[in-house]
């Protein structure tokens, strides 16, 4: 249970500054919290509410709308095996059974060592590459049970850390917008000039 760290609060303020209204930064800040702890803690939701000026209940309501925000601890690697039509036809059920046996957990569960969470997923829009799965939302295509074993071995021995960061990390490269390019926290109805991004487009 932890609030955002001081470094993340600084970052959170920068993110909030990009939006005309503080509460618009809610979802990016939830990603930040998930990156920090691997899932979204209650304290983080309270903290985010304070940062953007909404109640904890409003943060909770928004956060729970999204399947990809987790509210209980999950493994370092969240494995989503697609079970929708194309993948199902191409053997995703066998893949899931194999994964369950290999990891010793049922879909939805997390291994005791906290490394893997196994989830059943709906279509991941890679039907031509069926059966597919995602590890921390990074794709793996046309998997056989043997490929899956290899993947789990690689992940367990941290051989893929360059490619697949721990659960919660959205991107390895953090976006920074210099303050002069941000629109700033100005109430939309008070804005009389065109936003900066529109002006710069016009110049192109």
């Amino acid at each position: 249970m932890s609030r955002l760290t001081d470094a993340h609060v600084t970052l959170a303020k920068e993110i909030i500054g990009r939006y005309p209204r503080p509460k618009s930064a809610l979802v990016p800040l939830l990603h930040l919290a998930q990156e920090q702890d691997g899932y979204i803690t209650r304290d983080a939701m309270v903290h985010i509410g304070q940062l953007v000026g909404v109640t904890s209940a409003e943060v909770y309501g928004t956060a729970t709308f999204y399947e990809m925000f987790k509210f209980e601890p999950v493994g370092k690697y969240v494995v989503n095996i697609c079970g929708t039509m194309s993948c199902a036809l191409m053997g995703s059920e066998e893949l899931m059974h194999h994964a369950e046996k290999r990891l010793g957990i049922k879909a939805g569960g997390t291994t005791a060592d906290g490394m893997f969470t196994l989830e059943h997923a709906e279509c991941q829009a890679a039907c031509t590459e069926a059966p597919c799965l995602q590890v921390n939302y990074r794709y793996r295509y046309r998997l056989t049970p043997a490929d899956l074993d290899q993947l789990i071995d690689d992940l367990s021995s941290e051989r893929l850390t360059h490619e697949i960061p721990p659960h919660g990390t959205v991107a390895k490269v953090r976006q920074h917008i210099p303050p002069h390019l941000g629109v700033g926290a100005v109430e939309p109805e008070l804005v009389t000039e065109s936003p900066v991004w529109l002006d710069s487009k016009a110049a192109l």
Binding site: T55, S56, A57
Partner: protein
């Protein structure tokens, strides 16, 4: 159809804001921007609905109000709660296709509904149940297992949530966000898993939570005090007015077997818009309390003993007869009806009582009514509202709702001048914090600022004025009020009053005369000048800010006659206690802060032998040989309308039973306000602010089981930096001392307290902050020392 259209064309041409349309072939005139469903309500073409509520924004989520509107490509299905009326629009609510759509919606809503109507509190008054009968298909094709959730879970101490019954209409969550400004409940998850929920372990602690129960169109939200108490068809109901505070919200009092079981808000357009605060809604429990006074009590050697009414009234009359001329005083009268106040004022006249005050040194002087008056609607439609008042969310919650709503919709701009942050601070255009005692200087500074001047010139200004700090003289506020009224053009005043009928009592003869206010009366009593002190529903030992003065006054009065519903701190010291009928047990009228007279209605017989205050006054007058000539309530009302200026013709008016009638107020002589400079600070480095919270030790709250636990308890609040300066921890004990007096209280950090001041809630359980207050002090400065 063409003939009806030609009939209404002229009207719509006259007023550009009126459109003519037809609903089911009937010609209708509607206001531009109005929704179809609102227009259809006027033509009595009832369209079924769940999410639509006329006092909230439309969201169109329940899809029950589908109707057909003619379009270029033929009839089109639209939700009537989100489709505005238009010129020449042709609406049909009765076609087969509409019927089929509405039946389909009901079938879908019922698919997951548990249909546990026989054990549901809503059964019998349930829009889902009613509309399933009137607009439903009569049977369901859904045979699968329904969705299951844990059956009712408490989302606060007052409200239970049953998610199985919920149809996700968004009424409660919209109310919490849009109307109350407390978005503590929200939709969580999505799709089939959507449910209404609070944040984990953070209850729906809103002062207005009871309204969500009232507007819930199913039995998903139920109120703890009413759960399994009655079936709607067994309830008797009377429309009445809430007298908990001076807003005077219209309510319906529902009772069964001579017991009040529930209050519901009634939509009164000029006052409460259907809303109630939880204190007003749930304090009916005190009326049913076992602690109510049952018989008169007479003091004997071993305490107060029950007596007959004959003996008690004889004894009272004897005491009044033997009192020295000019040594009788009356305190209180603001908790009763207009008729009660008038009758006691008549008795006071008969006895030659000069010393009377309906307030307990905790309000503003009656001269506040001498300024041009404003109504709640005036305040909500003014260009600018100046707040020089206590926290309205704590004291007059429904007035807070109205002003908050107006500010949120950017209809008004609020300029707040206060000693600490209030519920309205975040909605204020400008919020100026000042040190207690400095309001006059602050007001003058504020009024001379160019930006404020410009704003004040933009149209009508309403000053909402009340006693915001009980640790300083009312005089400070009156001087600031006077300063605003004499400087600002187009200003009118909406007085903030504490008790239900302060305005009525003051207007009907219980206003102090020649500066003999409550403080002066108690001082006279303390000096042995009062032979007979009549406490008319007044509890000076709990309510007068200066605790020492109240104690000395009550101890010094030779004979005390208390008229009350409970044995309070003060009435326990009385020589005679007469049990009074409570709210809901008597008929009459009441006057709210605007001067609006509405009726209060008897729903149940008075508890045990208790009776209305006016009857006691009439009987006492007769015993004293001065028959007032009143036998019935109607006699009093006739006399009031004949003799009291401003109240003429009110008693018989039907309007009193609806939105009420405003009394006309004759201007009183201008105030003589002399502002005294506030004494310089000495070593007492914190200036004290004492104000009320919604839940305190007030008898109707403390005697209502569901409300009594909600009070915060005694304590003192300072700014976090000041807490550091004191060297205390949050929650640890500190000694607070003013000159010669001190109390020990827990201290808490609060960002809403201005630095250099200390805030203490009034009348809370625990050590009494009033020990530090002196009625004669302009302000109260204290030292705070860490003792832990």
């Amino acid at each position: 159809m063409s003939t009806t259209e030609s009939n209404i064309e002229p009207a719509s041409q006259l007023d550009p804001n009126v459109v003519s349309m037809t609903i089911n072939g009937k010609a209708v005139l509607a206001r531009k921007g109005e929704w179809i469903i609102a227009a259809a309500d006027r033509t009595e073409d009832f369209i079924p609905r769940f999410c639509y509520h006329p006092r909230m924004e439309s969201v169109g989520v329940c899809r029950q109000c589908l109707v057909e509107v003619e379009g270029p490509r033929g009839p089109m299905m639209v939700v009537s709660c989100m489709t505005p009326v238009a010129q020449g629009q042709v609406v049909r609510t009765d076609t087969d296709i509409v019927k089929r759509a509405q039946e389909g919606m009901i079938e879908l809503l019922l698919a997951n509904h548990p249909l546990d109507c026989p054990v549901c509190d809503k059964g019998g008054e349930c829009p889902l149940q009613d509309q399933a009968f009137s607009h439903g298909p009569g049977e369901s094709r859904y045979i699968e297992e329904k969705r299951h959730y844990e059956k009712p879970i408490p989302i606060s101490g007052l409200v239970f949530l049953d998610r199985e019954r919920c149809i996700l209409c968004d009424r409660c969550t919209r109310f919490a966000d849009e109307v109350a400004g407390d978005p503590l409940i929200t939709f969580i998850h999505r799709g089939n898993n959507t449910q209404v929920m609070t944040f984990p372990d953070e209850p729906f602690a809103s002062y207005f939570s009871g309204n969500t129960v009232q507007i819930c169109p199913v039995g998903a939200l139920t109120a703890e005090p009413y759960r399994f108490k009655a079936r709607p068809w067994d309830l008797q109901q009377q429309e009445s007015t809430c007298t908990t505070c001076s807003v005077g919200c219209r309510t319906v009092v529902q009772s069964s077997r001579n017991e009040i079981l529930r209050y519901q808000g009634v939509d009164s357009d000029p006052v409460n818009w259907g809303w109630l605060c939880d204190r007003g809604r749930f304090n009916f429990q005190s009326t049913n309390s076992q602690n109510r006074l049952a018989t008169p009590l007479i003091k004997s050697d071993d305490g107060l003993k029950p007596a007959s009414w004959t003996a008690a009234l004889d004894e009272t009359a004897r005491a009044l007869r033997h009192a020295q001329p000019g040594s009788i005083a009356i305190l209180g009268g603001a908790r009763g009806t207009n008729e009660d106040a008038w009758a006691w004022a008549q008795l006071a006249d008969v006895l030659g009582v000069e010393m009377r005050d309906a307030q307990l040194d905790d309000g503003l002087p009656a001269e506040i009514f001498g300024y041009p008056g404003a109504t709640i609607d005036d305040a909500c439609s003014a260009a600018t509202v100046i707040l020089l008042a206590p926290d309205l969310k704590e004291e007059l919650p429904v007035l807070y709702l109205r002003l908050r709503g107006a500010a949120e919709k950017k209809k008004i701009r609020i300029i707040e001048i206060a000693t600490h942050d209030s519920g309205l601070t975040r909605y204020a255009w400008k919020s100026i914090m000042h040190e207690p005692g400095n309001q006059v200087q602050t007001v003058q500074d504020v009024l001379s600022a160019p930006e404020i001047k410009e704003q004040l010139g933009r149209g009508r200004v309403v000053l909402v004025a009340g006693r915001s700090n009980l640790a300083e003289l009312a005089h400070n506020t009156m001087a600031a009020v006077d300063s605003i009224v004499t400087t600002v053009a187009q200003v009118s005043v909406l007085p903030v009053l504490r008790r239900g009928n302060v305005r009525g009592a003051l207007s009907l003869g219980l206003a102090p005369r020649a500066s003999n206010d409550a403080a002066a009366i108690l001082e006279a009593a303390a000096n042995g000048k009062i032979d007979c002190l009549i406490l008319l529903g007044a509890d000076p030992l709990s309510d007068v800010p200066d605790a020492d003065l109240a104690r000395r006054g009550v101890a010094g009065a030779r004979f005390i006659i208390a008229i009350d519903t409970f044995l309070t701190n003060s009435s326990a010291h009385a020589d005679i206690v007469l049990p009074a009928a409570a709210y809901g047990e008597k008929d009459g009228t009441t006057t709210n802060l605007e001067g609006r007279v509405t009726d209060v209605v008897q729903s149940i017989t008075p508890h045990a032998t208790s009776r209305p205050d006016w009857m006691m006054a009439a009987e006492l007058a007769t015993l004293l040989g001065n028959d007032l000539g009143i036998l019935t309530l109607q006699d009093i009302q006739a006399r009031i309308s004949q003799t009291v200026v401003g109240f003429d013709g009110l008693s018989v008016s039907v309007a009193v039973r609806k939105n009420g009638v405003l009394i006309s107020v004759p201007p009183v002589s201008p105030l003589q306000v002399h502002h005294e400079a506030v004494t310089k600070r000495n070593s007492y480095e914190y200036r004290l602010v004492v104000a009320r919270k919604l839940y305190d030790e007030a008898v109707a709250t403390a005697m209502s089981q569901s409300l009594s636990a909600l009070a915060t308890g005694a304590g003192v609040y300072v700014h976090p930096l000041d807490l550091e300066r004191i060297g205390a921890k949050d929650g640890s004990s500190v000694r607070i001392s003013s000159t010669g007096r001190s109390v020990v209280l827990p201290v808490y950090a609060s960002m809403s307290v201005t630095r250099g001041t200390a805030f203490a809630p009034f009348n809370q359980k625990g050590v009494d902050i009033r020990e530090l207050l002196q009625a004669t002090d302009g302000v109260t400065d204290v030292q705070i020392a860490n003792i832990s």
